[in-house]
Point group: C2
Chain length 236, copies 2
């Protein structure tokens, strides 16, 4: 099966979670908008096709299926790419964790866009400062502690004791947060040894290492989800 | 199977999407915290159990499985309660739509809490006014138009041409928005005839009609996701 991934060019964004799964598995896929431009997505977003209507990119075309929402795409790809342990409880746990990652990504995004996605960061800077402070002080530790505990509990248990798309997404989250909030992440360093080890292990997987070195890995930048604005991450 | 639902007492919140599915299907379930208090959830949130660790309520105990995240719970319950049409494409589409509803609910919540969930509304009122304006002007119409189009396309197609948990969740979203944003919803009235018809149809289903009349249906209030603050929904 040749998969078609549709996502905005120019940013890693939410598409990157899908891209990492496809790359890690060595799947046959086309990154359609990167080849043909963002306009290639419009017929799908305007519903000029059969099948499911995406609300927004990323979406995946798999044969006749059109699948949107990162967590749904990964729930579909996981068993097909060998990126989730077998068995119902592991698949369900992976879905749950991926949706929690989705929530975490939304909250990360909203640190720089607390008022409106349609407005520039500069137009919502004052609110962003406040939201980013609450994120650094409360939400970032809460989410990272949670995933650290999940990994700790996973040892010796069936669910997620083996490699999965959730691991790849956690790598992406940690990488993005290191870029966006280097000071806050340094303060968290000692609290998340298992998450750090996981991220290092993922970065060394041959297909991921090759991908990260390739031009297909767009650098983090200030158009994506994970943005580095120094005033949102003071050194203290 | 007797399901155990765990969710905060006192609000409809995210638990209501699960509750509506259980009620509509006439499932055998216990609303644990309503019987034993919110503290009954703590052992699970603190990981003093086997199995998956919830990040937050709602979560469902189904035999030995512990399942968190509304969309994951519904993806699990859907086929078991006859609340999703058969076939892979319908199940995937339902998951995708439910996750889009999750996103919509987050954005609705953040109209009154744009800075921090841990702070009172009164502490973030100025930002809430701005975020609510962007929500009313841009996001509310975008999401509602999307679901209207999904229903329109659904007619005569396989996916979601029959009753599903997504319909129940859309009923809940429309009901909540009518409560929180009555003026904005009135302005949308003519653009969403199919969504309106769906919500009416759901309200008339015997099990749902009985549930809505029962004391189990807590009224909307200003502690939940859908809150009515008149200054966030001016008449214009």
């Amino acid at each position: 099966m040749r998969y078609e991934l549709y996502y905005w060019t120019g940013i890693q964004g939410r598409g990157e979670f899908v891209r990492l799964a496809l790359e890690d598995a060595g799947a046959d896929y086309v990154d359609v908008a990167r080849q043909r431009g963002d306009n290639a997505m419009m017929p799908f977003l305007h519903g000029k096709h059969d099948g499911a209507l995406p609300f927004a990119p990323p979406f995946l075309k798999a044969g006749r299926l059109v699948i949107a929402q990162t967590a749904t795409i990964l729930a579909y790809l996981g068993p097909r790419l060998g990126l989730v342990p077998g068995g119902q409880s592991a698949e369900i746990y992976a879905q749950q964790l991926q949706q929690t990652i989705t929530d975490f990504v939304v909250e990360t995004h909203d640190t720089h866009h607390p008022i409106a996605s349609s407005q520039y960061y500069e137009q919502q800077r004052a609110a962003a400062r406040k939201r980013a402070k609450a994120f650094r002080d409360e939400r970032l530790p809460k989410f990272l502690d949670y995933f650290e505990t999940v990994i700790e509990r996973g040892n010796g248990r069936q669910a997620l004791s083996r490699h999965s798309y959730v691991d790849l997404s956690l790598f992406q989250v940690v990488s993005g947060l290191d870029y966006a909030f280097p000071h806050a992440m340094r303060r968290m360093q000692k609290r998340i040894p298992r998450l750090r080890a996981l991220a290092e292990r993922i970065a060394e997987r041959p297909n991921i290492a090759a991908y990260l070195q390739s031009p297909r890995r767009i650098p983090f930048n200030e158009d994506g989800v994970f943005r580095h604005y120094p005033e949102l991450d003071p050194k203290r």
